[in-house]
């Protein structure tokens, strides 16, 4: 394998992570506001199908992406209404939506199975794309991948650097304290859940109009991506930068599964294809292991220097969820 092919492969990793990036950013925003949008897996499938169908019928890719976002926003609106206004369980509603949207996408999508439709193409950015190494990696991508880069930065800046972002952090942490500071907690929760849903809805067309163009129904290989995105949100500690890192890690593992196949001929190809999923679970475990009591106990029994080292490591990796995640807010 030459350096060139490796670079192109890595550029492909960045592109194939784009849909997951949108999904984890959307989920991060939603959960930061205290609402778990568990419908993600179904939303991605439905928006992939819907986005493709709209783009195919109108022959307009932009409309396809907008349709995907609209679908995501509508599903999120259901999550928001049932959990914020009706105070129903977010987990139950989200789970039912995940299943319903998935089946709906297979049912409504059958006319589009295997049809060739419009898709995005790479845009070389003049000058920048000629930079050695970086040019190939970052500046010969399609527009949605560029947008995914920008989305990471924007979301991060929004949450950690702006005034409204500070309020968002507060809502997930202690809604009552945000309320006494003069904000309308439930309205903001609605807004962030819907914006988050729209971002999740962008993930679908990012598959069906770009990296995995077309709609293939049950064999699209998209089922399950939403659940992985959910776990990457947790891995990311509700921080867009960390979550993006998780998404890239997952895409990298998937790519490695492919390129390593010819090397490890003895290993069945299915194993390598599925390996990224358990590996993600393992990293999740590692990240949150510091919260476990037995780890604390084992550490306490170790000599001082080892203890210090591990304690530091675990603290750096550990992330705790927004304290008010899934908790409805009422004034009295």
């Amino acid at each position: 394998m030459t350096v060139e092919t490796i670079l192109i492969g890595l550029a492909g990793v960045l592109a194939s992570a784009a849909p997951i990036i949108f999904a984890v950013l959307g989920e991060t925003l939603s959960e930061r506001a205290g609402v778990i949008n568990l419908s993600m897996n179904g939303t991605i499938l439905l928006s992939a199908m819907g986005g493709f169908a709209v783009a195919y019928n109108t022959d307009n890719i932009v409309l396809g992406f907008l349709a995907g976002m609209l679908i995501g926003a509508l599903v999120a609106l259901i999550v928001a209404f049932t959990s914020i206004t009706l105070k129903q369980s977010q987990v139950a509603v989200g789970f039912v939506l995940a299943l319903t949207c998935r089946d709906l996408s297979y049912f409504l999508g059958s006319p589009y199975m295997g049809v060739t439709g419009p898709r995005l193409h790479a845009i070389q950015i003049p000058i920048l794309s000629d930079i050695p190494i970086l040019g190939v990696l970052f500046f010969r991508q399609d527009i949605i991948t560029y947008i995914s880069f920008i989305a990471i930065v924007l979301t991060w800046v929004w949450i950690f650097r702006t005034r409204p972002g500070l309020i968002l952090q507060g809502i997930g942490e202690k809604p009552a304290a945000v309320f006494i500071r003069g904000s309308n907690v439930n309205l903001l929760r609605y807004i962030y859940t819907i914006i988050g849903g729209a971002l999740i809805g962008l993930a679908g067309p990012a598959f069906s109009l770009a990296i995995r163009a077309g709609w293939m129904g049950t064999i699209s290989g998209l089922d399950g991506i939403g659940w992985i995105a959910l776990s990457i949100t947790i891995f990311g500690g509700w921080n867009p930068a960390r979550a993006a890192f998780g998404a890239y890690l997952f895409a990298l593992l998937q790519w490695l599964g492919l390129v390593l196949q010819p090397v490890f001929t003895a290993v069945p190809s299915q194993v390598l294809q599925v390996a990224p999923f358990p590996l993600m679970i393992l990293t999740l475990l590692l990240v949150n292991i510091g919260n476990a009591e037995w780890v604390e106990r084992t550490l306490a029994a170790m000599p001082e220097s080892t203890r210090k080292l591990f304690a530091k490591l675990l603290r750096a990796m550990r992330a705790s969820p927004p304290a008010a995640l899934g908790v409805p807010f009422e004034r009295d």
Partner: protein, 496 residues
Amino acid sequence: MNVELKDINKHFGKVHANKGINLNIPSGTIQGILGENGAGKSTLMKVLSGFIQADSDSEIILDGKTVTIDSPADAIRFGIGMLHQDPLDFPPMRVLDNFLLGLPGGLFPNRKKIAQDINLLAKEFDFSLDPESYVDSLTVGERQQLEIIRLLWLGARVLILDEPTTGISALQKEKLFATLKKLPEQAMTVIFVSHKLEDVESLCDKVAVLRAGELVGELKPPYNTQKFVEMMFGKMITLGERQPSQTGETILSLDNISLEDARLKIKNVNVEIKAGEVIGLAGMEGSGQGLFMRACSGLMRTVGGRIQLKGQDVTGKHYHAFKKAGVNFLPAARLEEGLIPGLSLTDHFILAEQPKGIFIDRAAGQSLAEDRIKSFNIRGTPLSTVESLSGGNQQRAELALLQSPLSLILLEHPTRGLDIESVIYIWAKLKERCKQGAAIIFISSDLDEVLQYSDRILVFFNGNVSTPIDTHKTSVTELGQLMGGKGWTEKAGKNA
């Protein structure tokens, strides 16, 4: 600002928490609101600060004008700011971000400018607040200070403080009072809510007393303590003399133990605790009492030294081993860690008795619950869910759930937020346990409680632990100083 409350009524379902309260608070004064827990003080203040709305015929008049306060945002626009009983701040965030959150302004806040403002305001009131430190590393007192300067920065002309002296050290209380006394000079109105007599007596220009939702009356200095007590309770109540315990065999022996968590290290503690003894742990919140408690209960492993229970080595053993040896731990968060919301008292008694077999003997559970409800004087029925009980009754239920016999009872803030009758009752029950041969270790932020009920006291300061101090040889003043880090070498020494 002149504040007038007219005929304030508030119902929570069937509970009539405020019954037609009329109160006039002139500008530039410190108004005290005194009453037992559950009297309706917080409710009244939440109405004034817009957190909740009163029933429709209630009226709030500011400087002669009737106003509608629908939300805390409205209240702060009128210049009313409230420091809530449970701190409404964001522990995992920095002081600076806590201050900034909710402040008006453009998209990108000017952090430097705000940090300067914090430092300036902190200096004016002699507070020590580092804008960059995290709120969960602050003491309750410092968190209050942060909230006070935030409200002042927002332009509060009326400052409401709901039970601000619970959970802060003697030194911090002095500082708080000094600050509050300065505010009326700047034409600010202070409303100070407390269930502690000595607090309102030493601070307030006049004091309104609430009892069971009603305003019983107002008193002006010179205050008559006797009169206050009568108004608060409708009768006389005294704590009685301090009663030293009879001690027996050694229950818990800590031999040179060391503890640590992410924030704090405790080194080489040596203590022996005997049956019948009550040990009080004093210190500002987060000084190491919590760690110590968790180590004694087996919830946390020590990093050095030896723990023995009745002569049996339990170092490094699990909570279950401790529990088997007769150790029971009652954490401060009753509804989060001690009781199970949603389950009835009967369910709790059934669970606590560790029944054999799969099926539940409801009838037996029910009669057990009836028994205990009677003997522990719990206001509730066997079918009441625990969250529907008042704080005092929840605490009684927890005590009723303790297994028997016990050798060591560990209590975190056993009487926090309870009315005085419950406090007296609960300690009477605990002392009964001591007579039966149990030892007690408890944490309390109320120094009077520590002095009233302990035989010996351990003071914690920033991970340092004093040698056990005999209660009859110390005082509130001395403990307060030790908790603030003063006078360690002469008296308490390091426990080394």
